[in-house]
Structure formats: structure tokens, C-alpha cells
């Protein structure tokens, strides 16, 4: 009966209840949509980094990450790469020579990270081939180089221009090689485009004097979520090698993702706090308007716990109607926008420099529904407490005669 009374009470002033329900729904939608937006943003950032640069797992000589020494190659890399390719959980493998050097045009020079790749292998693992905006992705001619748009602008060169790469060889001597720009790429990370160049690994191996040895084996998994498990397996399998997941290779990105989560919960908390005051205000009004009724209820024998529960129930019910409405609103909008994305081209330069895409595809994590719904329901209960305490303070003899 208490449920029935509470339920009917919330519909006594339909407009007021609808306003509260709407504010719960809109508040929840705002918070959840923001979460979906930032999750989409963060996921895309990771995807971009994984696809262009990091892949899911990388294997190195343990000495390599410290100073990227030319001699810190992986022993028997070709055999290892072949073994990895046989793993059904692995989608693709690419062996890379990685070194740093200078790139020079006729007018200027810049520091770069040189990736010596097997073009066909790299295609299976990175998106660079599809990011080509001018020219082609390695046509098969000798001494081809693929460089980023940003670097092209910096060096003042164009497609088919000749550039020179200077780097330290295995013997410690400075070596230079002349290359022709075969293709210009533009990834979604302008920072990456500015410092990364791709050449053929055979040619780089010869120039470096490392032969067929490589510095890095990049692994793309069929399911990126299994990165930690597969990494653990290969770490045990190859104890002499350094096996790292993308989050270990780019801890700042992993940290940023974690930070997004925390910021989102803080934002949700702020929204719920604002919502709480709205509900308190409405419930307080409802309680004060019904002072005579509360007086009568206590007069005829409704005890204080029942009065308290009734008021809190009303607040809880109002919110519980708003929660599914908010979730539905979020699902619909995210469903729509996850197909077409949110175009933030106006901020493309800033977004690109941080490695974010211009078009953000919001993404919902269904696991967030429960904690957010519980947080909202808890807010509703909290919001009902003060008005309920207020109702308990009425003196029946006085309250009955209130107009």
C-alpha cells in the first residue's frame, strides 16, 4: 500500500514530476553521452596509435628501448617472426628496422625515426599504406621512401623529391643514403607524421650493416583485448626478449585513458549533485504542500518510519523513471552518432597534434549502465532524506489545521 500511495502521489502534480523525471533523464544522458564521447575519443586515439605506430604487442632486444642502439637487434628474428605467424591469435606480424637519423632536403634538415619495413608485411599491420595522400606506397623501385605530410612541409619538398638520410651504421660510422619520395602519408596523428619515415628494410639493412636482423617485431592480434594474456605467454616463451603491450610502450596513453575514466566519474558526480538539489527542492515543495496530509497520516497512526519510507520512495520512484529514459536517450543518440560520428574538423589541427581523430565516434560501454544507474538511484535516496526528515518534524495537531 505504501508503494501504491507513493506511486500515486508522484502523479498528483504531473507537470512537476515530469520536470524532475526529465531532469534526471537529461542529466543522466548528458553524463553518459559525455562518457561515450570521451571513451570513443580515447579508443580512437589508442586505435590510431596501434594501427600507425604501436601495434598490440612489440618484441625488442631488452637493450633497445634505452638508446635505440643499431646493434641491439633481435637474435634469429626471421625464425621468431615465422613462429609468431603460426599463432592463431595473431593476425599479422611485421619485422622492422628502427633507427634514428637526420633527413635532409636541399634547404633544411630534421631529426626522424627511420622504419625499415617489408612493405607487404607492414600493410597487414599498419594503416600507413591507406593513409597515402600523394604518390604510392612503395612501387618496388629502389631507394624509395614514404614520409609524412607534415615532414614534407617542414623540409619544403614534394613527391619524387630526392632526400638524404644520415644515420649511424653498425660499425659506428655515419652513413648516408639517398632516397626518392615515393609516397606522402597523412595519418590522424600529425606528430607521428612529422618524425616518422618508412623505407625498405633490405636497403636499410645494407646501409646500417645489420643485414637481415631487425630491431622490432610488431604484432597485431585478432583481439586486442587479449594483449596482456598473449604478452604474458610470449614473455615466458622468450625470456631473453622484451615483450611489451601497447599500454607499456605508451604508458602516457594508457594513463590518459585511465584519467578519462576518472574525469568522467567526477563529471557524473557533479551532474548528480546538481540533480540532487533539484530533487530535494521538488520533494521539499511536495512535502510542504501536503503538510495537512502528513499531519492526518500521523494522527491516524502512520508511524515515522513509514512516513520516512513513503517520502524517500517518492523521490526514488521519480528517479527510477528518469534512469531508463536517460539510458534510452543515450543509446539512441550514441547509436546514431556511432554510425556518422561527430565531425570536429574545425579543430582538426589541435586534435591531430594530440593524435586524435577529426571525427569522433562515441562508444558506449554497457558495463557503465549499472554503476551509473546505481549512483543515480543512490542520489535519489539521498535526495529524499531531507524532505522526509522535514515531514517527520510536523506536529499532527498543528499540521492538520494547515491550509
Amino acid at each position: 500500500m505504501l508503494f501504491k500511495v507513493a506511486w500515486r502521489n508522484i502523479w498528483r502534480n504531473k507537470m512537476r514530476s515530469i520536470v524532475v523525471i526529465s531532469s534526471v533523464a537529461v542529466g543522466l544522458f548528458a553524463g553518459m553521452f559525455l562518457m561515450a564521447f570521451f571513451w570513443g575519443l580515447a579508443k580512437q586515439e589508442v586505435d590510431i596509435a596501434v594501427e600507425t605506430q604501436l601495434s598490440h604487442i612489440q618484441i625488442h632486444n631488452p637493450a633497445f628501448p634505452d638508446d635505440k642502439g643499431v646493434n641491439d637487434t633481435i637474435q634469429n628474428s626471421a625464425v621468431l617472426a615465422e613462429q609468431l605467424k603460426k599463432d592463431s591469435a595473431i593476425k599479422a606480424v611485421s619485422a622492422r628496422i628502427v633507427t634514428t637519423g637526420m633527413i635532409s632536403s636541399s634547404t633544411t634538415a630534421a631529426g626522424v625515426e627511420i622504419h625499415g619495413i617489408i612493405p607487404a608485411e607492414e600493410t597487414t599491420i599498419s594503416s600507413i599504406s591507406s593513409d597515402i595522400t600523394e604518390g604510392s606506397y612503395f612501387s618496388g623501385k629502389p631507394n624509395e621512401i614514404v614520409i609524412g605530410k607534415k615532414l614534407v612541409e617542414k623540409l619544403g619538398v614534394k613527391l619524387h623529391s630526392k632526400i638524404v638520410l644520415t644515420f649511424q651504421s653498425k660499425s659506428g660510422d655515419l652513413t648516408a643514403g639517398s632516397f626518392r619520395i615515393a609516397g606522402i602519408f597523412r595519418s590522424r596523428n600529425s606528430g607521428f607524421d612529422e618524425i616518422t619515415v618508412f623505407t625498405n628494410s633490405n636497403e636499410m639493412g645494407q646501409l646500417l650493416g645489420t643485414g637481415s636482423a631487425v630491431h622490432e617485431i610488431a604484432i597485431m592480434l585478432k583481439d586486442g583485448k587479449k594483449a596482456d594474456t598473449i604478452k604474458a605467454f610470449y614473455k615466458k616463451e622468450y625470456p631473453g626478449l622484451l615483450v611489451q603491450t601497447w599500454s607499456e610502450l605508451s604508458p602516457e596513453m594508457a594513463m590518459l585513458n585511465g584519467l578519462f575514466d576518472q574525469i568522467m566519474y567526477i563529471i557524473i558526480g557533479i551532474i548528480l549533485l546538481a540533480l540532487m538539489f533539484g530533487i530535494i527542492n521538488t520533494m521539499l515543495m511536495a512535502v510542504l504542500e501536503r503538510q495537512r496530509e502528513f499531519g492526518m497520516l500521523m494522527a491516524i497512526g502512520m508511524n515515522k518510519p513509514r512516513v520516512f519510507i513513503m517520502v524517500v520512495l517518492e523521490s526514488f520512484m521519480l528517479t527510477c523513471i528518469g534512469i531508463p529514459a536517460g539510458i534510452l536517450l543515450t543509446l539512441l543518440s550514441v547509436h546514431l552518432l556511432s554510425k556518422h560520428g561527430i565531425d570536429l574538423s574545425a579543430f582538426s589541427q589541435a586534435l591531430s597534434s594530440f593524435g586524435f581523430s577529426n571525427i569522433i565516434y562515441p562508444e558506449l560501454q554497457t558495463s557503465m549502465f549499472l554503476p551509473i544507474s546505481l549512483m543515480t538511484a543512490f542520489t535519489a535516496i539521498l535526495s529524499g532524506i531531507y524532505p522526509a526528515i522535514k515531514a517527520l518534524q510536523f506536529k499532527p495537531a498543528e499540521a492538520i489545521h494547515k491550509i
Binding site: 500500500m1 501504491k4 502523479w11 497512526g301 502512520m302 515515522k304 495537531a397 492538520i400
Partner: protein, 228 residues
């Protein structure tokens, strides 16, 4: 006959620290089981305050109120609520039904608080609605009932817990003549047939005429107490 209600030197002073008002001033009153008593007097004479004190809706400044020998003025607020639920029926001037419940549900509500079974509740609701002549209005909400009908539902609700007595504060003040007569007939019948004790506060001569005992209050004091 047993005294169902006894008050001794009962006083209620409002605003004792600022402008003291002696709403009830040293009232000694005994009500026997089965009485049909009207508290009369001019406005501000203390009728409602005395009813509130007898009904445990307010605490006196001095004196005590005994219901069946139990001093309710010593009870905590929570115990008093429970005591009222089990022992006292209330009828208010403004009906004060729960607006979101139907006539039947309003009556049932009290029995729900008494934790009666569904079967017991249904049976009693039917009995009471029949007693107040509102069987056909059981599903109507208060806004769909006339003032007289609402007050009859209020009487039925007051009877739902089978209380020791019913306190009615100006029950006919908002009713027309026909509804007043109807309500008085029902209450008189309950008093005679079921020996239900009624205590009214009233200005209404029609109620006074029906009462078998008339207690007149002036300035919070009993100035006359007559049986007719």
C-alpha cells in the same frame, strides 16, 4: 459504566514564554464507554485543543489524560502514534482523506498499518462501506465524492481499527443539512448499536441536539456539563 477517558487538571498553554494563551485550563473530564458527548463553546474556547490532548495529538502543559487507565501524556511520540492507531478513531472537519486512494483504500489503509490480512481487510471494508451507505462508491476517489460522502468515508476509516472511541472535530462544519443529518444518523446508530463512544467538538445546533451529554467550554474551562 467504566470511564474510558479521564483528564485531571488538564492545561495547555501556548506561547508560555512570550504571550501565554491558556487554551485549556485545568480541565477534569470523565467520559464513559458508550457516551455520545458534544464539546461546545465559542471559538477559542479550547474545544479543539481539548480533543487534541485527549487524542494524544498534543502534549499538555500540566495534568494528565488517561485512556482506559493508561496515562498517554507520559508516552513518547512514537508510542503515541501506535496507541492512536490501535485505540482512537479521528474524524476531521476537512475530511482529510488520502486523496490518491479510493474510498475503500482509505479505509483499508488503516488496517494495512495494523497488518491485517487481505481477507480481513476486504471483509471489514465491505462492512464499513455498507454501514455508512457507500458500497457503490468504494472505487471513487475523494475528489469524486461529495463532502457528506467524504465525511462518511472518514467515519468508516475511523472505525476501521475498531477503536475504543472516536474523536470528531467539527465533523459537520462543512456539510449541508441533508449530509449533516445523514452523518449524525450513522454516528448515532453506531453509538447505540455498537456502543461506540463519540466525542465531538461542535458549533452545530443539530449535533448538539443529538448529543446525550453536552460539555460547555469557555476560555479553556468547563462551565457546564449536562446530560440530556
Amino acid at each position: 459504566m467504566n470511564n474510558i477517558i479521564e483528564t485531571h487538571n488538564l492545561s495547555k498553554i501556548y506561547n508560555p514564554d512570550t504571550v501565554p494563551v491558556n487554551a485549556v485550563n485545568g480541565v477534569d473530564l470523565h467520559i464513559e464507554e458508550g457516551e455520545f458527548t458534544a464539546l461546545v463553546g465559542p471559538s477559542g474556547s479550547g474545544k479543539t485543543t481539548l480533543l487534541n490532548l485527549i487524542g494524544g495529538l498534543d502534549y499538555p502543559t500540566t495534568g494528565d489524560v488517561k485512556i482506559d487507565g493508561v496515562d498517554i501524556t507520559k508516552m513518547s511520540e512514537n508510542k503515541l502514534i501506535d496507541f492512536r492507531l490501535h485505540n482512537i478513531g479521528f474524524v476531521f472537519q476537512a475530511y482529510n482523506l488520502i486523496p490518491v486512494l479510493t474510498a475503500a483504500e482509505n479505509i483499508e489503509f488503516v488496517m494495512m498499518m495494523l497488518k491485517k490480512t487481505k481477507q480481513e481487510r476486504d471483509l471489514r471494508v465491505r462492512e464499513l462501506l455498507a454501514e455508512v451507505g457507500l458500497t457503490d462508491k468504494s472505487k471513487n476517489r475523494p475528489t469524486e465524492l461529495s463532502g457528506g460522502q467524504q465525511q462518511r468515508v472518514a467515519v468508516a476509516r475511523a472505525l476501521a481499527s475498531k477503536p475504543r472511541f472516536i474523536l470528531a472535530d467539527e465533523p459537520t462544519a462543512n456539510l449541508d443539512s441533508k449530509s449533516t443529518a445523514n452523518l449524525l444518523d450513522i454516528m448515532a446508530k453506531l453509538n447505540i448499536e455498537d456502543k461506540m463512544t463519540f466525542i465531538f467538538s461542535t458549533h452545530d445546533q443539530r449535533v448538539i441536539d443529538k448529543a446525550r451529554r453536552i460539555v460547555t467550554l469557555v476560555d479553556g474551562k468547563i462551565v457546564s456539563d449536562t446530560k440530556q
